[in-house]
Symmetry: C2
Subunit: 275 residues, 2 copies
C-alpha cells in the first residue's frame, strides 16, 4: 500500500459533510497528505488561516478549484471575470496550490456560438498568464467531458487542450489536467496524452458508472465503473508525470451521502486496488 503516498483527495468528495477545516484535519487523521481545495470552502476559513492549517498538516494542495469560466461575451462582465480570476490566482499562491483548475466555461445565455466562446476563452487565458507567472501559479487547462459543453466547458478534448497550450505559448504558468472521467472515451487518448508530455500538472481519478443518471453529479468510485484507470495512469506516467493522483468524486446520490471517514477508508482501498 506504499502507493498511498501518491493519494490526494479533492475535498468536493466530502463536500456535503465537511468544512475545509474538517477536511484538512480529517485527511491528516487518515494519513493522507494531498488535498484539492474549493474556493467556496476556502471562504469559510479565510485564505491565511487555511494556508496555515494546510502547512501545519504538511498538505500538498494538488489544485485550487476553480478558475476560468470565461465564456462571457459582454466586455464589462469579461473584465470582471478576469479580475475575479486574478483573485483566484492570488488565493492559489497563498495556499501554495500546485495549480488552479481552469474550467473553460460553457455558452452564455442565448448563445449558440461555440467558436466565438472558444476564442473568448483563449483571449482570457492569454490575458491571465502574465499575472499567473508573476504569482508563480500554474493555470491547468482541464478538458471536461463533452456532455458539459453547453453548461460548463467548451474545452472538451485533450487534443483541444494541447492545441490551446501551444497557441498560448506554454510556459511554467500553463499546464494540462487529465481527468479519467472526462477523457476515457476518447479514441485519440493515447496520442494526446503522449503529446501532453511535460504539460500534465494534475491527474484525477474516479469512475464512469454504466447507468449514469446525471450529467454532472453522478460519478462512481474507482472500481465501480468501466474506466480502465491503470491503463490511463500508465499512459500519463509514461510522459514522466510523478505527481500526486487526485480522487475527485461528484456523487449526489451516493458518496456525498456517506460519512466521510467511511468514504475515505474505501477510497484508500480502491486506490490501491483500482488505480
Amino acid at each position: 500500500m506504499a502507493d498511498l503516498e501518491r493519494l490526494s483527495i479533492n475535498q468536493v468528495t466530502m463536500r456535503e459533510r465537511w468544512s475545509l477545516a474538517e477536511a484538512i484535519s480529517g485527511l491528516a487523521r487518515h494519513d493522507i497528505r494531498g488535498i484539492a481545495v474549493w474556493r467556496d470552502k476556502l471562504g469559510e476559513l479565510g485564505v491565511d488561516e487555511a494556508a496555515r492549517r494546510l502547512r501545519g498538516e504538511g498538505m500538498t494542495v494538488t489544485a485550487f478549484c476553480v478558475g476560468g469560466l470565461l465564456g462571457v461575451m459582454d466586455d464589462t462582465s469579461f473584465q470582471e471575470r478576469l479580475d475575479d480570476n486574478r483573485r483566484v490566482i492570488d488565493q492559489a499562491a497563498v495556499i501554495q496550490a500546485e495549480c488552479v483548475m481552469m474550467v473553460a466555461g460553457g455558452l452564455p445565455e442565448g448563445s449558440r456560438d461555440l467558436t466565438s466562446i472558444r476564442e473568448r476563452c483563449l483571449e482570457g487565458l492569454d490575458a491571465l498568464m502574465p499575472y499567473a507567472k508573476q504569482a508563480g501559479v500554474t493555470l491547468a487547462l482541464e478538458p471536461l467531458h463533452p456532455m458539459t459543453a453547453a453548461s460548463r466547458s467548451c474545452l472538451t478534448t485533450l487534443r483541444q487542450a494541447n492545441d490551446w497550450y501551444e497557441q498560448l505559448g506554454g510556459g511554467a504558468e500553463l499546464g494540462i489536467a487529465v481527468d479519467v472521467y472526462h477523457v476515457w472515451w476518447d479514441p485519440d487518448l493515447e496520442r494526446q496524452i503522449s503529446r501532453a508530455k511535460d504539460r500534465i500538472v494534475a491527474f484525477h481519478v474516479s469512475d464512469w458508472l454504466m447507468e449514469t443518471v446525471d450529467l454532472r453529479l453522478d460519478r462512481g468510485m474507482m472500481g465501480d465503473g468501466v474506466i480502465d484507470i491503470p491503463h490511463i495512469r500508465a499512459l500519463v506516467e509514461k510522459t514522466g508525470y510523478t505527481g500526486l493522483i487526485e480522487v475527485e468524486v461528484f456523487s449526489e446520490r451516493n458518496w456525498w451521502q456517506r460519512d466521510p471517514d467511511e468514504a475515505i477508508g474505501i477510497i484508500k482501498q480502491r486506490f490501491s486496488d483500482w488505480v
Copy 2:
C-alpha cells in the same frame, strides 16, 4: 416553406403513440415523404406489408434503425450478432432504406477494454460489408455522443468514423451519418465534416437542452437548445450532401408525451425556422 421537401421524421419521435402503420399514414397526411423506420416497429406490420405501404405513400426511408451493436467478445454471440445484422440488411433492402443506422455498441458486461471492443466492431463491419454490398444496402457509421461510450457506442467522434471508413476501404456499402446532437460539441467538427465528403449518407437534427436531465432520452426540439444547426447544415451541404434531413427526437419527458399530430405541426415550423 419549400424546404419542407427536405424533411424526414424518424418514427422514434412519435414512438410512444404511433405504430408504424399510423406513422406512415400520419406523416403522409402532413405531406411529409421521408421517414426513418425502427426494427421493433417493423415487426408490428411485417416487412412486406410495411414496404407496400411505404411505397404506396411515396415515402423515402432515410434510415432503418438499428444495426451494429457489435461490442461482443464471446465468439458464438459475435457470430449470432453478425447473423442478426444480416437479417437487418435483408429487411433494409426490402423497405428500400437509404441506409442502416449502425450503432457500434458499448462495453460488454464486465469489460473495461475499449480498444478491444473497437477492434471487434471493425472486424464485424468488415464481415458485414460484402453482404451489404450484395444486398445493395449502405451501412451508415454513426458516431454517438461520448456520454454513450459505455452503454451504446464506442464510436464517439466523426474523426473516428472517418478513420474507420478508411480502414474498412469505403465503397457504396459504407457511409457516415452526421447527427448534430452527437457531434455539435466537437472542436474538430469542421475539418471532419469536410473530410467526410461523399461519405455522408444521413443528416439528423434535434437540439441539446442546456439543462439535459438524461443521457439518452432528453433531446430537445430544434430551437429549444444551444446547437447552431444552420451552421452544421451548411458544413454538411458544402460537402455536396443533398439528401433529406431527418428529425430524430428521443424525449421521454416532453415530445414523447405529446399528440403526434401536434408534434409534427411544430416540427414543420421548427424545421423552417431553425434548421
